[in-house]
Each structure stands twice: as structure tokens, then as C-alpha cells.
């Protein structure tokens, strides 16, 4: 195989290429498309919710369907949209930022993606097979145990499969960063986005097993008559809440830390300054991650854990404000004294600061346990976490997409449309969620299918719904922008933003082997150093030589398909034993794939030195 072999040869070949790819840059495309699809789905679900709440006692959708909507909206947005979109950006950029040719486990990388995708599809099949899960994205027992039909079964199995994919992805990133940094790329020279990818992966590594365990217990209670959460048989429902939040709280940081990293890169690039307080930023990230594991019970202040537990968790939670504050001020200080240019990527970053500050501040307010007795499970909380997840993570994803789009696809997104989408989204976002702080305090609990007339909640809810539609409009503009760019977008140079980190040192889009010669890193912001010292490009750390590349493989796809089929088997075997066939067939397929993978030698292939020489720089 030669370099030319990756050229397009019609749709079938194109599809086959993506089904079998182990190239982290293509897997990134898959994550972005998959995550983007689920993001739209979650958005449509959100609009259903908001239409239902546009006026009091509305009957647009039924109570049962409403609970399915909120459950799937939350589950989809967290597990199937925000997290995969970040995994996509990480896959696309992190290996480039550390000067690596590839990730540590290309095969596992692809397996991680397909598990996520099939898990997500399985979960959404529930819509067509008798009803989606309806116990909230938190699936508190015993409501989730008692939920009739198979909705919650789809939840346990779908998330189990998708979660395994995420865990695999996280491990791959960890090993990549530990072992594959280019010469000179010490830990304290890594760009912040790489740092947060690293820390996020550690969080995934420790948080997801808690989810795995919880989901297994739930699955066994529902399918095999165990009684972990059945109070009548000596079970305990609060255990589920602990397990869920021991996973769930770090999960929130899994969603926000990558955004922190990427904003750090963006602020320093567009202010033309190195990141202010780099070391403090790194340690703040680690500290936030650590504290993120210590505060899960702040979701449980009203559970009745008692004043001692509530006090301890209140204080631990407030403590997170300190490293987070350090970050905000360091970003401001990065801009201070810089030369700030504003384009759509930077706009999202700039929009993030006030939005996320509001989300963070209401977080501290929630941490005050006794105040939380009023906020908890109301629209105040809904407002708070949307300011964090939308104002932080989604703004981050959008900033990252605008910032790295040229690197990933070789074209620059249209600026006019980018800015229009930003402003409409920002206004819609604040209209939707700001007012919800007050709705909550005025007595509107969350997850309410209807609110009653004459309770003073009409105006707020109406405004909120209008805002949601504005966000929808902005997303449509973004989609048009992407299509427009694909058709007649401006071609991107290697380094469109006068960047500072290694990903800007290679062509846009990068060749599939990334770096022809591994670059030598001489400090933080390595490309910037070379540029200011007049060289303008990286010095290679090695002579030109053959590059070893891994083989593509269809096995990850088939293996995930196997688990997908087995998933249906597990869900339906309670109805009829014949479904056990699907379990055996699915698991069998996966096992055979594993066997093939273990027994067959995969040598990969080499790109010859001569071929590389022929390629222009």
C-alpha cells in the first residue's frame, strides 16, 4: 500500500474505509458525525420538552411520553453527544499536539468508537420498540426498577455498551500521552488541551467502573430478579444514588475539563500571548479532578444523610470554586496585555467566560446545603447545570470545531455565518436558562410535565421556550455553514491562526502519518518558539525514515455489532427464551472476533522513505 491508496474510489470504498479505519483522525470524524447526530436528536427532544411547557397545563405530549423525553434528552446529551464530541476533538488533535504519529492502540480506538455508536443506537431503538426509558437520566431506583416495559432495560444495556467504549477510549488516550510524546515534549510543555485530555482520561478510568457496577446491579434487578434495590427484600435504594453520583459527578468534570483545556489554547492563540500561569493551570486542573471525586453527595443533600455528611460535602464542594476561580482569572490575565483578534472560534471562547462564571457561581450557591434544600430538583438546578454544560461544554465544543475545523478538514468555516450563529445562540441560551433560576425559586420543580395555571410561572416558561427555539435556529445556521464550507469553503493553510502548538506545524488536513519526521520540542508552545526565532518550522528530531502504520480492520465494527445483537437478546430473553439465541450469537461473534484478533498476526505496513521524500512539504 502506498500513500496514494487512501485516495477516494467511490462511495462503497469510502464507506469501507471509515468502517475499517484505525486512523485517529478519521475516527475523530466518526465521533464528530456520531456525536453531532445525537446532539441534534437531543436538541429535538429538548424542543419537545419546551413546547410542552410553553403554557400552563398544556397537552402537547402525554405524561408518559414527557418522562421519556426528559430521560432521553439528558441521557443523549451527556453520554451520546457532549462526551463523544469531545472524544472526537481529542482524537483529532491531541496526538498532533504531542507530536505523535498515531495513538497507542489504534485498533482499540476504533473499537471504542463503534461500541459507543452501537450503544447509542441500541438505546434509541427503544423509541420504536415499545417506549424509551422514563425514569430520568439518573434512573433512580426504585422508580427505574418499577418502570414497566423495556425502556429502562435499553438504558442499562445501551449505556453499558457505550460506556465500555468510552472507557476504552480513555485508556487509549492515557497510554498515548504517557508513551508517545515527541522528544522534548515533557509533561510541563504539553498544551493545556492535551493536559485536560490526560486528566479527563484519568477521570474516565476511575469514574466509569462505578457506572458499570451500578448498571449491572440495575440490570440484574430488572432482568434476573436480584434485589439490590428492592427494599421489601432487604435492598437499599440510596445505594443506587451513591453509585450513580460517584460516577455522575466526575462525569460532569469529564464534560468540562476538555473545554477548559481547549479554551486555554484558544485564548493564548488569539491573544498572541503564552498562557498566563501555565503551571497553576495544570495544577488547578488536577485539583479540580481530584475534588471532583470527593463531592458526589452534594447531589444528595435532601436524601437525609444527616447534617455531618451534608456539611462535609458542602465544604468540599465550595472548595472547587478556588481552582476554578484561578482558571478564570488566568484566562483573563492571558488576554490582558495581549493583542486580541476576534473570530468565531474566539467568540465562543469569549462567550464562555460570563456564561460559565454564572454556572460556576450558582454551583457554589447550590453547595450551601441549606440553600440547596430550596434549589434541589427545581428549575434552579436545571438553569445551573445548563449554564455549566451548555455555557461550558457546548460552547467549548463549538469553539473547538471552529478553531480546529481547518486542521481537520482543510477548509475554514464561513466567518459571517459563524458569528451569526454565535450571537443567536448566546441570546437564545440566556433567554432560555437565566429565567429558570427564578422559576425554580418560585416553586417549579424539575421534571414537571405540566405546571398549573395561576402559579406565577407562565411568563418565565414562555420566554424560556422562545429562547430554546432561538438556539435551534443557531444550530441550523451552523449546519448550513458546514454544508456551505464543504461545497465552496475557503481552503485552509497549515497554520491559519498563527498558532503556537504542534498541530499547526503540519499541513491541513494532516497526512495520515501526521509527522513525516517527529518534531523536536524545545519548550512550551513549540511552534511559536520556532516562529519567533525565525525558523518558522519545527526541527526534526530524527532523520527521515520508513514509517510503520497499523492495518485497518473491520473487527471492531463486527465485534460491536455482536454486542449490539447480544444486547437485544438480554433485553428480550425475559419475554421469551428463544432470545437467548441472540445472546449466544452476539457474544459468540464478539468472542470469535477477539480470537481472530489474538491469533492472527497483524504486521501493519511501512511507508517507504522514498515515497515520503516525493511528498511535498
Amino acid at each position: 500500500m502506498s500513500i496514494a491508496a487512501t485516495q477516494k474510489r467511490g462511495f462503497g470504498a469510502f464507506l469501507w474505509d471509515y468502517l475499517t479505519t484505525v486512523d485517529h483522525k478519521k475516527i475523530a470524524h466518526l465521533y464528530l458525525v456520531g456525536g453531532g447526530f445525537f446532539f441534534l436528536l437531543g436538541g429535538i427532544e429538548a424542543l419537545f420538552i419546551r413546547i410542552q411547557l410553553i403554557k400552563p397545563e398544556n397537552d402537547f405530549i402525554s405524561a408518559g411520553l414527557y418522562n421519556e423525553m426528559i430521560t432521553m434528552h439528558g441521557t443523549t446529551m451527556i453520554f451520546l453527544a457532549a462526551m463523544p464530541l469531545f472524544l472526537g476533538l481529542m482524537n483529532a488533535i491531541m496526538p498532533l499536539q504531542i507530536g505523535a504519529r498515531d495513538v497507542a492502540f489504534p485498533f482499540l480506538n476504533s473499537l471504542g468508537f463503534w461500541l459507543f455508536m452501537f450503544g447509542g443506537i441500541l438505546l434509541n431503538c427503544s423509541w420504536f420498540l415499545g417506549g424509551a426509558p422514563d425514569a430520568g437520566w439518573t434512573s433512580y431506583a426504585p422508580l427505574s426498577i418499577q418502570s414497566p416495559g423495556h425502556g429502562v432495560d435499553f438504558y442499562t444495556i445501551g449505556l453499558q455498551i457505550a460506556g465500555a467504549g468510552t472507557l476504552i477510549g480513555g485508556i487509549n488516550f492515557l497510554v498515548t500521552i504517557v508513551t508517545m510524546r515527541a522528544p522534548g515534549m515533557t509533561y510541563m510543555r504539553m498544551p493545556l488541551f492535551t493536559w485536560t485530555t490526560f486528566v479527563t482520561s484519568v477521570l474516565i478510568l476511575f469514574a466509569f467502573p462505578a457506572l458499570t457496577v451500578g448498571l449491572f446491579l440495575l440490570m440484574f434487578d430488572r432482568m434476573f430478579d436480584s434485589a439490590f434495590f428492592d427494599v421489601a427484600l432487604g435492598g437499599n435504594t440510596v445505594i443506587w444514588q451513591h453509585l450513580f453520583w460517584i460516577f455522575g459527578h466526575p462525569e460532569v468534570y469529564i464534560l468540562i475539563l476538555p473545554a477548559f483545556g481547549l479554551f486555554s489554547d484558544i485564548f493564548s492563540t488569539f491573544s498572541k500571548k503564552r498562557l498566563f500561569g501555565y503551571t497553576a493551570m495544570v495544577f488547578a486542573t488536577i485539583l479540580i479532578a481530584f475534588l471532583g471525586f470527593m463531592v458526589w453527595a452534594h447531589h444528595m443533600f435532601t436524601v437525609g444523610l444527616g447534617p455531618v455528611a451534608n456539611s462535609i460535602f458542602a465544604i468540599a464542594t465550595m472548595a472547587i470554586a478556588v481552582p476554578t476561580g484561578i482558571k478564570i482569572f488566568n484566562w483573563l490575565a492571558t488576554m490582558w496585555g495581549g493583542s486580541i483578534s476576534i473570530n468565531s472560534a474566539m467568540l465562543w471562547a469569549l462567550g464562555f467566560i460570563p456564561s460559565f462564571t454564572i454556572g460556576g457561581m450558582t454551583g457554589v450557591m447550590l453547595a450551601s446545603a441549606v440553600a440547596d434544600y430550596q434549589y434541589h430538583d427545581t428549575y434552579f438546578v436545571v438553569a445551573h447545570f445548563h449554564y455549566v454544560i451548555v455555557g461550558g461544554s457546548v460552547f467549548g465544543i463549538l469553539a473547538g470545531i471552529h478553531y480546529w475545523y481547518p486542521k481537520m478538514f482543510g477548509r475554514i468555516l464561513h466567518e459571517g455565518m459563524g458569528k451569526a450563529a454565535f450571537w443567536i445562540f448566546l441570546i437564545g441560551f440566556n433567554l432560555t436558562f437565566f429565567i429558570q433560576h427564578f422559576l425554580g425559586l418560585m416553586g417549579m420543580p424539575r421534571r414537571y410535565w405540566v405546571f398549573l395555571e395561576d402559579q406565577g410561572l407562565d411568563t418565565g416558561n414562555f420566554i424560556s421556550t422562545i429562547g430554546a427555539f432561538l438556539m435551534g435556529v443557531a444550530v441550523i445556521i451552523l449546519l448550513i455553514n458546514i454544508i456551505y464550507t464543504a461545497v465552496k469553503g475557503e481552503k485552509a493553510p497549515a497554520d491559519p491562526w498563527d498558532g503556537r502548538t504542534l498541530e499547526w506545524a503540519i499541513p491541513s488536513p494532516p497526512p495520515f502519518y501526521n509527522f513525516k519526521q517527529t518534531p523536536l520540542t524545545r519548550g512550551l508552545d513549540p511552534l511559536w518558539i520556532e516562529k519567533t526565532e525565525g525558523k518558522g518550522k519545527m526541527t526534526p528530531a530524527e532523520p527521515l525514515g520508513d514509517i510503520h502504520m497499523p492495518d485497518g480492520s473491520i473487527l471492531p465494527f463486527i465485534m460491536s455489532l455482536g454486542f449490539f445483537v447480544a444486547g437485544f437478546g438480554f433485553i428480550y430473553q425475559v419475554d421469551h427464551n428463544a432470545w437467548l439465541l441472540a445472546v449466544f450469537a452476539g457474544i459468540g461473534t464478539a468472542l470469535i472476533c477477539m480470537l481472530i484478533r489474538s491469533l492472527k498476526d497483524y504486521h501493519g505496513y511501512h511507508i517507504k522513505k522514498e515515497d515520503l521524500e516525493r511528498e511535498a512539504d
Partner: protein
């Protein structure tokens, strides 16, 4: 600064909206506390808001100045700013100040947490066993032989201790203007106290997703003066569940109530109801099923087809079909169950 204009317009709009909406409905909103718990929470809400508005103001001021002053200007295309590494003093400042702010919030939080969890005086106060059910609330006045549902009568100015458990899934009891919420779990009794400072009827809500009709699981707290409360207690204790209604229609209704096996789930009098709400004081209730206006039309609708009103409730399908005529008779009976002159109206609403 085209952008700033838009942001200003945005804030103006949201403030306008807030003013329009006011602070919400007086007997529902947490923003106008009428009870001890709500007041304690409100103090912390205000304190933390103050701290946060201060932080936000600082951030925004720095942010705006940075954006205005350091925006790239024409003719600066090749200007390279100084590459600063950091600044120990500055970074210490913005580490220490947040620590202080957090402490300002943490100390009163801990104090309040312990204060609201103090049950040491529960022996002296009114003790009520609360049971959360899909989708209604049951109240058992300990030592008084009184059972009610949906309407919780309490005396003003006294701590009323609630011992709460759930019969099915997790619920959460919340009376925003009186007190913060507390979960009602199926496995353990959770305790909290509530204290109303003024007479009135306050809306209570279920705050934990508990099924399709979660949003309809409302109840009322009827706070009356201590004298009126004592009166109410003795009235309730003197109810005779066997008493025959005065008029003939209600009497037929009473018979139907037994015939249609309503009694299988509902009780009248002090026997503890199991599956459905106790209906002893139904004629005095401020709402039907927790949220409907108490008129015959609604009651007939409920009896004939509860599912259309509260989806997923456990009454649907558990009794023989009832014709409209029968339902009218039953409601005539239920509506005349008025054991006391102390009613939600006499509490001010």
C-alpha cells in the same frame, strides 16, 4: 462594540421579564419565606447571591477592560505582545480571596445545616407521620388518631415534626414558602420540622420524579392558629364514620361508595387508609386529587375516569365502572363530609 449592545439588550430583557413575573405566587414561592426553614434558606441564598454578584462584577469588569484595551488595532498586525509567564503576587491574590469568600459562606452553611437537623425537641411538638404515595400524600397525626390526606393542618408558630417514609418510589416533600425539601425514601424514616409563621394555605409539591403524574402530586399545608388547630383536632377525633348523611342523594351515594368497592382503598374516619387517600374531611378539602378546583364537575370526572386526570395513578381500573349518575351521587356524599368548621377558608384562603 456591536456585541456589547446586544448583551445589554439581553440583560434588559431578562430583567424586564423577572419584574413582570414578580416573585411568583405568594403561597408557593421560596422568595417570600413564611416559615423557619424557608427563612434560613433564604438568608443563605441572599448571602451567597451577594458574594457571587460581587465575584461576577469583578470578572466582568476585568473582562470588558481587557477586551476594549487589548483588542488588536489597525496597524498592529505585526505587533507581538510580551510573553508573560505568570505573576506570583496576582495569582496568590486570586487564590486567597476566593478562599476567604468560600469561608464566609461555609460557616453559616454548617451552622444552618445543624440547626435545621435538630430534632431534640420533637417530643414536645406535634409529630406527624407522612407517607408519600404515587401520587398523593398521607398524614397520620401521632397520638391523635387522626388521618388525613392531601391537606396537612398545622398550628402556626410551633415546630411540627414530620417523620416521612414512602410506600413505593422516592418522593420529595417540598413546601417552598415554609421549608426546603426532604426526600421521602422507601427504606428509612426521614425527619424534618416545619414551622409556619403566618396563617395561610401553602402549596406543597413533590420534587422527586416519581412517575407520570409526578407534576400533579401537590398537597396543601393549612396553617391555622394554635387554638383553631386544637379545635380542628377535636372535631376530627369526633367523626363518626358510620354517620348517615342527611339528604337522600348523599345516602344513595354512601351506599354506592360501599357497593363500588371504593371502601377497599379509601377510609373515612381514623382507620389508617392503605391504598388510597383517607376521605374523612373531603368536603373541606381545598383541592380534589391535590390540584383540581373542588367542585362537583371535577369530582364526577375524577370518579369516572381518574386516568384522564392523573395518568398512571393506582385508582384507575381498580373498581367497577361508575355511571355519571352514580358518580354524581357519590360526589354528593363525599362533598358533605365536613367534620370541622376549621377549613382552608378559615385559614385565610
Amino acid at each position: 462594540m456591536k456585541g456589547m449592545g446586544k448583551i445589554k439588550a439581553l440583560f434588559l430583557l431578562s430583567f424586564l421579564a423577572i419584574v413582570l413575573a414578580g416573585c411568583g405566587k405568594e403561597n408557593l414561592t421560596a422568595l417570600v419565606p413564611k416559615g423557619t426553614g424557608a427563612e434560613t434558606s433564604m438568608n443563605l441564598i441572599l448571602l451567597s447571591t451577594l458574594v457571587m454578584v460581587f465575584v461576577f462584577a469583578v470578572v466582568i469588569v476585568v473582562y470588558v477592560i481587557a477586551l476594549v484595551r487589548f483588542r488588536k488595532k489597525k496597524g498592529q498586525e505585526n505587533y507581538i505582545p510580551k510573553q508573560v509567564e505568570g505573576n506570583k503576587t496576582l495569582e496568590t491574590v486570586w487564590t486567597v480571596i476566593p478562599i476567604i469568600l468560600v469561608l464566609i459562606l461555609a460557616v453559616p452553611t454548617v451552622a444552618a445545616t445543624f440547626e435545621l437537623a435538630d430534632m431534640s425537641k420533637s417530643g414536645d411538638g406535634v409529630n406527624i407521620e407522612v407517607t408519600g404515595n404515587q401520587y398523593w400524600w398521607h398524614f397520620n397525626y401521632k397520638g391523635e388518631e387522626i388521618q388525613t390526606s392531601q391537606d396537612l393542618y398545622i398550628p402556626t408558630g410551633e415546630k411540627v415534626y414530620l417523620n416521612m417514609i414512602s410506600s413505593d418510589v422516592i418522593h420529595s416533600l417540598w413546601i417552598p414558602s415554609i421549608s426546603g425539601k426532604m426526600d421521602v425514601n422507601p427504606e428509612n424514616v426521614n425527619k424534618m420540622y416545619i414551622e409556619a409563621k403566618e396563617e395561610g394555605v401553602y402549596w406543597g409539591k413533590c420534587a422527586e420524579l416519581c412517575g407520570p403524574s409526578h407534576s400533579l402530586m401537590d398537597f396543601k399545608v393549612v396553617a391555622v392558629s394554635p387554638e383553631e388547630f386544637d379545635q380542628w383536632v377535636s372535631d376530627m377525633q369526633n367523626v363518626d364514620p358510620k354517620a348517615q348523611p342527611q339528604d337522600a342523594v348523599a345516602q344513595e351515594g354512601k351506599d354506592l361508595f360501599e357497593e363500588k368497592s371504593c371502601m377497599g382503598c379509601h377510609a373515612i374516619g381514623s382507620s389508617p387508609a392503605a391504598v388510597g387517600p383517607n376521605l374523612t374531611d373531603f368536603g373541606n378539602r381545598s383541592k380534589i386529587a391535590g390540584f383540581l378546583e373542588p367542585n362537583e364537575e371535577n369530582l364526577v370526572k375524577w370518579i369516572m375516569d381518574p386516568e384522564s386526570i392523573k395518568p398512571g395513578n393506582k385508582m384507575t381500573g381498580n373498581y367497577p365502572a361508575v355511571s355519571e349518575e352514580e358518580a354524581k351521587k357519590i360526589s354528593a356524599y363525599l362533598m358533605q363530609l365536613k367534620p370541622s368548621d376549621i377549613t382552608p377558608e378559615s385559614a385565610g384562603k
